[in-house]
Amino acid sequence: MAVSEPATAEETARTRAAEYLLRRHYFRWPEVLPWLIAVACFFVFPDRMTFGSQVLIMIMFALSLDLILGYAGIITLGHAAFFGLGAYTVALASLKLGWSEPISGVLAAGVVAGLIGIVAGWFILRYRGLTLLMLTIAFGAMLQEAGNIRSDVTGGYDGMPGLTFDPVLGHFQYDLYGHTSYWYALAVLAVVFFFVRRIVYSPFGQALTGIRENVRRMHSIGSPVHRRLVTVYAISAAIAGMAGALFTQTNAYVTLTVFDFDASAKVMVMLILGGTGRLYGAFVGAAVYMIFEDKLSKLSPTFWQFGIGLLLVLAVLFARRGLLGVAETAWRKIVKRSAP
């Protein structure tokens, strides 16, 4: 084979196509931004770190929803069920079993929520549309009612206050300012995100997109659709459970309101706001929502609720791809205009 042989047009096209796929998952520089911002917040707003931890937890919750809603196309209004399961796993483990090591608690919560996710998902993911939606709502509501029936164990809607947890890694004590909690939550989020990102860019992640785009076609090319859906549902449930566990640990408190239908609806709004199917939509949406809610709902809860409703209506009519989608379109327009 001569070294200086010119490549044919076809060979060039082949190479170019292959390169695109090989490079698709590389980190791009804007991806560093959310993490830089998160770290910067610690130094810029050191007195808002308890709030900051809750934002990070919501980001993680929204991220778990993006896996199933944004990538696999499963519409659920009951995802708070898994958040709650994780939250109560850690609470009950601490109270009843004296198990208060935080990191293993989070992992255990993930395992519990994930296992229940497999079982629930196996049954309900055979369905679509209204049937699936109702099953997810009913599942979450049933867990909440069950928790209320045994309020002797769960503390009911009054909750379980006064939970205590060991210092993180046996060293970092919790402080009144929530500094430890913030770094702890950020670390867990970073690890979880790393795994989620790998899944999304993997062939499995591609298959999920295929199921969302054209499930008929997936069946006819031999994809085990139900198995794929149950798998991603279980992973998503595990992550939601871990977010719930962090919630209990950082608040040292949990009540049955974590199972609220409202909570499921809220996390969906956050994700839609930021943009589904983009991973970072969870970051943008959860952060923006939480910050605005914190500022505005104190001024007037009624106006806040009206505003959120209006935002949803406008988003559906004019900005279906969320804030990130709007940003992307704007960016593309800017790039086009500045090109010669």
Partner: protein, 290 residues
């Protein structure tokens, strides 16, 4: 009479009244979802609005309760038309998710607006004398209000059944629910039919909302609180089916009443359990099309 019979009769009666409320409020949602496949989560807001209009009519304008119910139903029915024409129509071809989000957004806006005008404290309405107290049905006395609700429910069911099964329009609606494309190709104007059923369904929801004031108390959150319940009745009964909505309303109304009486701490557990069981066995509901 043995004690358990008395209890059973009470449960049946209260359950029946509850079922009538569920039917009246949900039947519109079932038909519109079955007809257009449009997920309307703002339906509860129409019921809530109907309730508040009754409150205003009776308290501020001094109109009697029963006429207020009718007037409120008509107002909401008429007001719902611009919503359908102007807003919903644009989303008939959209995904389920977009319809869910838009209508939830509308519901939030409605709740906020009504909280602003009426405040969050539960409202009640003044009832005419003849609706208060009990009515003696021979073997037992029952609360008049609920007996009246059951009576109205029965009358509405009869009218609706007749309209659906025996009239021309009813036949057109059934045909369009069954197969919209075929109905259009034989010249049925499905769009106009939908506006009609939507208005009718919203008006009935307002009627149900009006009745609900004295049963459950009325707050703006009624719109979302009971929405889940309406969705359950619709899903369990089967979209677009009058029979299904009625059967689901009866099952849920009676079992929930009984459950709450015998196991008060269980709350709504039984309703959700029924939902899951029915949907796992018959995913399209009792009388839904697969």
């Amino acid at each position: 009479m043995p004690h358990w019979v008395t209890i059973a009769v009470s449960i049946l009666f209260d359950g029946l009244a509850y079922a009538m409320f569920l039917f009246i409020t949900s039947v519109g949602l079932s038909v519109t979802m079955g007809l257009m496949g449009f997920v309307n989560l703002a339906h509860g807001a129409f019921a809530m609005a109907g309730g508040y209009i009754v409150v205003s009519l009776t308290r501020s304008l001094g109109i009697d309760f029963v006429p207020s119910l009718l007037i409120s139903a008509v107002i909401v029915a008429v007001a719902s038309v611009p919503f359908e024409r102007g807003l919903y129509r644009r989303l008939y071809k959209s995904t389920d998710l977009e319809q869910v989000l838009l209508t939830i957004g509308l519901a939030f806006m409605a709740i906020a607006a009504f909280t602003y005008f009426y405040g969050p404290i539960p409202k009640s309405v003044p009832l005419p004398h003849w609706l208060e107290g009990d009515v003696n049905l021979g073997f037992r006395s029952f609360p008049t209000y609920r007996a009246f609700l059951i009576l109205i429910g029965a009358i509405l069911i009869t009218i609706l059944w007749y309209a659906f099964e025996r009239t021309n329009i009813g036949a057109k609606i059934r045909a369009a629910v069954d197969n919209r494309r075929m109905a259009e190709s034989v010249g049925i104007n499905v769009d106009r039919l939908f506006t009609l059923t939507f208005a009718l369904g919203s008006g009935l929801a307002a009627l149900g909302g009006g009745f609900a004031i004295q049963l459950f108390g009325l707050t703006p959150y009624f719109a979302v609180l009971y929405l889940v319940l309406f969705l359950i009745v619709v899903a369990v009964g089967g979209l677009g089916s009058l029979k299904g909505t009625l059967l689901a309303a009866l099952v849920i109304g009676i079992i929930d009443t009984g459950g709450k009486y015998m196991f008060p701490q269980a709350g709504n557990f039984f309703i959700y359990a029924i939902t899951v069981i029915v949907l796992l066995i018959k995913p399209a509901g009792f009388y839904g099309r697969e």
